[in-house]
Symmetry: C2
Subunit: 345 residues, 2 copies
């Protein structure tokens, strides 16, 4: 079944998509339906704002990304930015531009994904814009959240001797993308043949349905740890480490042997004949957290599940380097020490 968007019109489509949306958070005073949303944040909180613009053909490929997953991911990557400030996402606005190719049912799918993500993370949809596009789909999401005034974590606070931590594992989302691209190329036009993803489910999930590390932010709070610097890993560990060190005016040493990598990622890199560490350092789209803590927190952080110590911050003149398993030092470059070929992920 296909209902044309023109049959509803702009206002009809907005009404249809936002039907039944309720505001759950106390800070959401008024949502969709006026010139602006109205929020009320308590005095002891600061307001965090992050925004993202996703373009079809650049950030996502609808030949293998289901619209519901796309909606989920588009929302979650914005939540991730708020967690990366040690904050909590509370509201989003969703703007969509769509070409005639898309039906009302397509938009229902996309919105179902966005609404599911909001439900999982306790975020309200408070506004947005729906408009047409001459080509393809564009999604712009702005996320608003809150953080305790004294506990917001910036990229610039890392200090010499601080420990460098990452959550989860790295490189799997990138491997998932490689896998999807390969299968797309192999099976192009041959509709009878189905791609075989057996044993590679984790990679697909990491690429298609990433999660933001709300759990880690909670654990850090429970353990009374405020990182000295933090950001989420969207462009790859190497690039993000450079951001933290540049903004903190420090150097760093990270150890290849400590970079957390999943078994499926390793198998896939082998299959693709790719350097596994390069994939983990530069892959991007992991949406894990990279953060630093004072050395005094060593004991507490070591026993925290889902967090791995991968190195330490140094004085700036030592530069930023990866120490390989055989003890060699490779300087990190802005795009990673051994950059993958240019990619648009």
């Amino acid at each position: 079944m296909r209902t044309e968007i023109a049959s509803l019109g702009e206002f009809g489509l907005i009404d249809h998509l936002t039907k039944g949306i309720e505001l759950k958070n106390e800070s959401s005073k008024y949502g969709i339906g006026d010139d602006a949303a109205v929020l009320e944040y308590p005095t002891n909180k600061e307001v965090l704002v992050s925004t993202d613009l996703l373009m079809e053909g650049v950030h996502f490929d609808l030949t293998y990304v289901p619209l519901k997953h796309l909606g989920y991911k588009a929302a979650v990557v914005n939540f991730s930015d708020i967690y990366a400030m040690n904050g909590t996402p509370k509201q989003i606005t969703v703007s969509l531009a769509l070409s005639k190719r898309f039906s009302v049912e397509d938009m229902d799918e996309l919105y179902a994904g966005i609404r599911l993500a909001c439900q999982q993370y306790g975020v309200d949809i408070v506004g947005g814009d729906t408009t047409s596009s001459l080509t393809g789909l564009a999604i712009s999401i702005t996320c608003i959240g809150e953080g305790d005034k004294e506990k917001i974590v910036y990229r610039y606070g890392a200090k010499d001797t601080d420990l460098i931590c990452v959550t989860g594992d790295l490189g799997a989302a990138y491997m998932g993308l490689q896998l999807l691209e390969r299968e797309k190329n192999i099976f192009k036009g041959e509709q009878e043949v189905q791609p075989d993803f057996t044993g590679k489910e984790y990679l697909l999930e990491r690429q298609l349905k990433p999660e933001a590390r709300k759990d880690i932010i909670q654990k850090l709070a429970d353990a009374n740890i405020v990182p000295t610097s933090m950001m989420d890993i969207s462009d790859g560990l190497s690039s993000e480490l450079m951001h933290i060190c540049t903004q903190s005016k420090t150097g760093c040493r990270v150890y290849e042997e400590h970079i957390p990598i999943d078994y499926q990622t390793a198998v896939m890199a082998e299959e693709f004949n790719m350097n596994l560490t390069t994939c983990a350092m530069n892959g991007g789209e992991d949406y894990e957290l990279l953060f630093t803590v004072p050395i005094a927190d060593h004991a507490k952080i070591s026993e925290m599940e889902g967090v791995k110590l991968i190195g330490h911050i140094t004085k700036p003149d030592l530069g930023c380097a990866l120490i390989t398993r055989d003890g060699q030092e490779f300087e990190l470059k802005a795009q990673g020490w051994n950059p993958l070929q240019e990619k648009e992920v």
Copy 2:
């Protein structure tokens, strides 16, 4: 001179465009350069959020819209949404998606317009996203502002007997668009011939460089008037009146003879053989304010410069109607009482 965007890269382009941006507002605590911007609003204020997504070919045509004007307008229309809540815009985030057709110099122009608008209206640029697009330019702006808790004005508060007011004049932006479209078609391919806009400068200005009615919000505050309902006129007076009446559960009567129309708009409608009132009622993109006040404010509002009384709110069962000069009643329709052919403006 043309500098390719690829020569700077994403981070380089962001650095280049945001160089020298300073935060002027007390509520802007941290701007560009981290995972999220950090804002701090005082307790007695509510936070207002509005967002807009503009797509090339749908919302703007670069054959006749200079990039600097486009940037200015993209920012101002968002400010207008915040004023329409009786608030003050304080911050924006700017996300851009651009195809290879655009150079660094093009983006400088666009950003110069955005920065000029921010300077004029006292708004800080606190974040954004810059990415690539396969086709054309997409601009997504989110505006954050503040309003006094007790003085925020919604669309739903109009009451029977309230007076209906509009600011400025209507239909000129739409006429400006018609003019630009006509000249584009006439001169397509004939590079030697220049379009003649003499005597029509006001129409072009209204289309290409609209302003938000900050001045009126100030005047209302000075006169101690809090409208019972308000919105800005972006889709046309007729459509906006319907929104206010639907949300307020009222009807309305507006009088054709009181609709404010500029002389140039009238001349142009004559030239195009268009019904002038239809243009004024349905034109769109005026970014004037439509608001209602209690009848007790009649004296105060009558003497306010730049504000025109055009009718009054009624009980819901009377419906929404325009009274023509010869005393006939025309029911307002969702898209206006005599809709213009479908347009994408």
